[in-house]
């Protein structure tokens, strides 16, 4: 190694906040170099990806639309990750949430009552929460690793969704397309700003941010969750019920992801289709880390992530790049973040800075 890591006596708070910014800058630089190598003007390309999409009102509105599911998933992940429960299954929980919401919505297309939309949302929450609780149950009762089970549940959820749109939920009048019927108006989320797709889902997401913030900062349950995550044997010693906490965190996280799914099908999409999520659940993992598992940080990180999604689409249209550029930027961002996070716990010593002051101090004796 060229560099030497020297442990800090105490974690640096400053670095904890600076590290995501540093990671963002490094991602931008790498992205620019990358565009240059692809034969594009790096500044123009970055502008196309990160500014053009939100340069008008419509773009800003779309940013809200895209932020909603990411924020809902990520804020839920904040709480499970705090407990060191590795729920990688937000994607699957989102899909099942969407599926459950749709299963109800296609059966109440004719209903015009005001309970229709809340009922569809609750169905989504219940679907996502149950899907997550399945993994929680396997973890607490059979000790099965939740990373692997939740990943498997993602694949199972995707197949269930595809099965449903090809089978039981397929629109009978839909010319055999793998889609459900369009939902009734009463089931759809109301539009907040006219002539845009901004829907009430963003309000749910912001409410969730506030509630989780209070939960983590003020409540005793939040304290127990933090202790469990930092030091499981201290939690046991204090008598906190670790299994109960795993269930609570998974319930919250799954429910919010389920709500995200319901918000997509009853929001911008309006029906169940095979692709209700371009990997929002996975992106939320990056967002949760990038936002330092803090609600406010996560809010900003979600906006950035939504922008990267829109930028990917813009790069496809304007620069003729593959859409996969979104995933590439997401991966880079997370890698840089993890690398920069080393500065929180360690100081970097460069080989050319030589021996530090110890030697000289010793010589004085």
């Amino acid at each position: 190694m060229f560099l030497k890591l020297v442990p800090r006596a105490e974690h640096s708070r400053k670095m904890a906040y600076l590290s995501p910014l540093l990671a963002g800058v490094l991602t931008l630089i790498t992205g620019g170099v990358f565009f240059y190598l692809q034969g594009h003007d790096p500044f123009f390309a970055l502008k196309t990806m990160l500014y053009t999409p939100i340069s008008d009102t419509y773009g800003l509105a779309e940013l809200c639309v895209k932020t909603t599911p990411i924020l809902l998933c990520a804020i839920g992940l904040a709480i499970v990750f705090k407990a060191q429960v590795w729920n990688i299954g937000a994607e699957g929980q989102l899909l099942i949430g969407g599926l459950a919401a749709s299963a109800l919505a296609v059966n109440i297309i004719e209903v015009e009552a005001a309970w229709a939309m809340p009922a569809v949302m609750l169905a989504g929450i219940a679907g996502g929460a149950l899907w997550a609780l399945l993994a929680a149950w396997l973890k607490t009762h059979f000790n099965a690793n939740e990373i692997l089970t939740t990943i498997m549940f993602n694949y199972i959820a995707l197949n269930l969704l595809i099965f449903s749109v090809h089978g039981p939920l397929k629109d009978p009048d839909g010319y055999n397309f793998p889609e459900s019927a369009m939902f009734g108006d009463a089931s759809l989320l109301p539009i907040l700003v006219e002539d845009t797709r901004v829907h009430a889902g963003i309000l749910f997401a912001l409410l969730a941010v506030v509630i989780i913030w209070v939960l983590l900062a003020r409540s005793f349950i939040g304290f127990q969750i933090k202790v469990l995550g930092l030091d499981a044997s201290a939690a046991r010693l204090a008598g906190f019920k670790d299994k109960k906490l795993v269930w609570i965190t998974m319930l919250i996280s799954g429910g919010l992801a389920g709500l995200a799914g319901a918000g997509e099908v009853a929001g911008p999409i309006g029906q169940l289709v095979p692709q209700i999520s371009p990997g929002y659940g996975y992106a939320a993992i990056i967002v949760a880390f990038l936002g330092r598992l803090h609600p406010v940080g996560i809010l900003f990180a979600s906006l950035l992530m939504a922008l990267i999604y829109m930028g990917g689409e813009m790069a496809q249209i304007e620069l003729n790049m593959p859409l996969a550029i979104t995933g590439l930027f997401q991966g880079m961002l997370l890698f840089y973040l993890l690398a920069c996070d080393v500065l929180i716990g360690y100081k970097i010593k460069f080989p050319w800075s030589g021996m530090d002051t110890v030697t000289s101090r010793a010589e004085q004796h």
Partner: protein
């Protein structure tokens, strides 16, 4: 114990000379211009409190740590020890305090790993292990897996690992802290024999009586610097203790022994199978702790202490609920929180990472078990109340810390332990269970902790102490017993017990009819066979 057979001879040829050794860690100068020399065939003691820099110094000799300044002269030549492999090639062997053994491997495999490539013939190596261990009176079966060995046997593996090579300097880091008094005697016989054969021995300890019994010379470290050098047989324990702790710190005092009042904790017929394949089953434990007394449980690590403590704290729920009683009734089925509500406080062995959350502030760590004292209102934390609770602990127990926002992990061991014990005591417990309360803390903090425990006892609380430090147990316990392989010895008032007897209990010999007239040597032989019989279950 015998006095050293080889007299200290300053003219004997030097094996190792260290000059001006300095090592800086972030925030702490571990070694500050340390000078030390060891002669051929000499048993040299390195004395010092926890944190005085002993471990760093010997890691430098063994090539694990590089010094920032200073030089090493090995058999007359200035050298730089690159790594442990290099140290071994020179003939330096080391017995670590926290053994560097691999539990899932056999004795032979463990020793082969340390030897380097020359140990390819495993059969020949096993034979060599057998013969070397027999020669020095430390019987070992090379085929056994390390996890099936007792702590004493594991130490033998560490020593034999050094002896199968051409050994010229053997370093032992606090080797006696894990042994029964009788095992200590056997170890000393082996070490003296090695020294007579010309091997130099560096014996690291803070136990002065052992140093007096074994060592030819001693070097004392305090706060990273050499604070004195002496010939142990010519000093008394208190003069060496002064060199270790300096003039300001009060050295241990005597406490009155008292008789308890009503029974608070009653354990009857506690049997518990361990879920852990490497764990110990508890066997028919019977124990009373009265209000206003301190009961001490001695024992070598890994004999069921953790399992007993977990059963008492409620971290493990026991099958027979009736086996543990408080005055309010059976509590064996209750979780830790409910037991706390009924008067229990608990101090675990691990300070960082159980007793306190390393990456949380002292304030949050005060809340960790202090939440029952009205700090939670409607499910929300009373932040101000918590803050003042933490400050009260810090003030009353003289915890050295910038403020209550400091993370637990940046406190020294002694300060953190004062904080944890303070947190438990401030909740006015009726029963305090404490594991190894002064393990690894400096003498000043240890004295403060002992005094706090005695004060709590005098206020009428029942106290149970589990410790590996026999001296500590004799100092503060009113009654004493020992645990071995998950079974408890008889309990006797401390003044009526001898060190010898506790040693026998620790080896599992609870039979009080055992003749005391046997010579020490004969005792050791019978002890070993009993211990071996106990361990091969």
């Amino acid at each position: 114990m015998n006095t050293p057979t080889v007299s200290s001879n300053p003219d004997r040829p030097k094996r190792l000379v260290m000059q001006g050794i300095t090592k800086q860690y972030p925030g702490c100068l571990a070694n500050d211009s340390v000078d030390l020399d060891i002669g051929v065939g000499e048993i040299h003691a390195l004395l010092g409190e926890n944190g005085a820099g002993k471990s760093t110094l010997m890691k430098i000799i063994y090539g694990v740590v590089k010094p920032d300044a200073g030089q090493l002269i090995w058999e007359g030549e200035t050298i730089r020890i690159k790594d442990p492999a290099h140290a071994r090639k020179l003939g330096i062997g080391m017995v670590f305090q926290h053994f560097s053994l691999f539990e899932t491997l056999t004795v032979t495999e463990n020793i082969a790993l340390a030897l380097g490539n020359e140990a390819d013939d495993m059969k020949a190596l096993a034979e060599k292990i057998r013969s070397v261990s027999a020669r020095y009176g430390m019987a070992l079966n090379p085929q056994r897996y390390v996890h099936s060995l007792s702590v004493g046997e594991r130490q033998r593996v560490e020593i034999v690992r050094c002896l199968v090579q051409d050994i010229r300097l053997l370093i032992l880091d606090e080797p006696t802290s894990v042994l029964t008094p009788q095992e200590v005697d056997t170890l000393f016989i082996t070490l003296r024999r090695l020294a007579e054969e010309g091997c130099s021995i560096l014996f690291i300890s803070h136990k002065l009586n052992e140093v007096k019994a074994l060592c030819h010379r001693a070097t004392v470290l305090r706060a990273g610097r050499v604070s004195g050098a002496c010939i142990p047989t010519e000093e008394d324990a208190s003069s060496m203790a002064r060199m270790m702790v300096g003039d300001e710190t009060p050295i241990s005092m005597d406490y009155d022994k008292v008789q308890g009042q009503a029974v608070f904790l009653q354990v009857r017929g506690l049997n518990q199978r361990s879920d852990d394949p490497f764990g110990v089953d508890l066997k028919n434990i019977n124990l009373d702790v009265h209000a206003g007394e301190i009961v001490g449980i001695a024992g070598v690590a890994g004999n069921g202490q953790e399992e007993l403590l977990a059963a008492l704290s409620g971290e493990d729920i026991i099958k027979n609920h009736d086996a543990i009683h408080f005055p309010c009734g059976p509590v064996g089925h209750l979780c830790p929180e409910k037991r706390r509500r009924k008067g229990l406080a608990f101090v675990p062995e691990e300070r960082l990472g159980r007793g306190a959350v390393p990456d949380m502030s002292l304030k949050d760590n005060a809340l960790l078990t202090g939440f029952l004292t009205g700090l939670i209102k409607n499910g929300m934390i009373d932040h101000e109340g918590t803050e003042s609770f933490a400050k009260k602990i810090i003030k009353q127990f003289k915890v050295k810390t910038p403020d209550s926002g400091t993370h637990a992990k940046s406190l020294s061991g002694g300060n953190l332990q004062k904080f944890i014990i303070g947190r438990e005591i401030m909740q006015n417990p009726q029963l305090l269970v404490a594991a190894h309360p002064t393990w690894g803390v400096d003498i000043g903090a240890a004295t403060a902790i002992h005094q706090a425990l005695i004060d709590l006892r005098d206020q009428g609380a029942a106290i149970l102490i589990v410790s590996e430090d026999i001296d500590e147990l004799f100092l503060i316990s009113d009654r004493l017993c020992a645990i071995c392989d998950g079974a408890l010895s008889p309990i006797k008032p401390t003044p009526q017990v001898t060190l010898e007897e506790v040693g026998r209990w620790m080896a599992g010999m609870f039979d009080e009819l055992l003749p005391d007239e046997k010579t020490p040597e004969a005792n050791i032989v019978s002890l070993q066979s009993t211990a071996a019989a106990v361990k091969t279950h």
